[in-house]
Symmetry: C2
Subunit: 149 residues, 2 copies
Amino acid sequence: MTEPATPAELTALARTMIPILDAMGLEVLEVTPHSATARIPAEPNVNHFGAMYAGCLFTVAEVLGGLMAGFMDVPGGVPLVKRLEIDFSRPATTAVTARTTLSEAEFDRVQAEAIATGKSNYELVAEVTDEAGTVVARTRGFYQMRVMG
Amino acid sequence: MTEPATPAELTALARTMIPILDAMGLEVLEVTPHSATARIPAEPNVNHFGAMYAGCLFTVAEVLGGLMAGFMDVPGGVPLVKRLEIDFSRPATTAVTARTTLSEAEFDRVQAEAIATGKSNYELVAEVTDEAGTVVARTRGFYQMRVMG
């Protein structure tokens, strides 16, 4: 990602890269090298009881890792998710927003290590909140920036 | 669930209860009180590189918990997922199948405890394999059968 992209452009890109995000109505709200925020609406992501399905809460948080990695300048680098832990604290009955951050030092370390050795592991913690601001889920994702080919 | 249901009936039920499963094309292959198997096709669940999206691998495994819990005879009981850990071991480029089991003793314990105290925690380990039989992901889900209302 060499040029700044608008949230609408990033949303379109994410939905093209991962078509099921289109079915979920995922919107990218903001991405910087050090933070990412995305949102999914209640419909069609809630279950028959009106509570957001666990797999959709997983998705809105997990996808942040790939979005932010787009800023890393690693030739041939692809972000892979190796493991993800998610804790569900409350049912969500509204749209939900997921947010994560990555420190500048950690961003620089991952970028440099991936260029030097072909791969670098990093962790991202994300919080998913409902429209009232209540935390409904927390995730810890274990990613790897890997140089392919 | 008081009557035996066919895989087609269970598939329809799952997609009605959780509409995004319909978008993913989830199929329930088999459910007994002690095992559950479900499958999702490659399309529309793969990303732009042809690899199954992490959130879809999560879903095909996570959903097994709710399917099997349908056999528990707990008045007012609803299965909730509290936490899920997923390890991604290989990219999947085909349809994938998830399978889990629950011992008869554990099934009986959860059912009895939920009736007696209003809730009971249990764990489910699932394996997700591709069409060649390669394990692409493993999950450990922490569920609770809870009596509502």
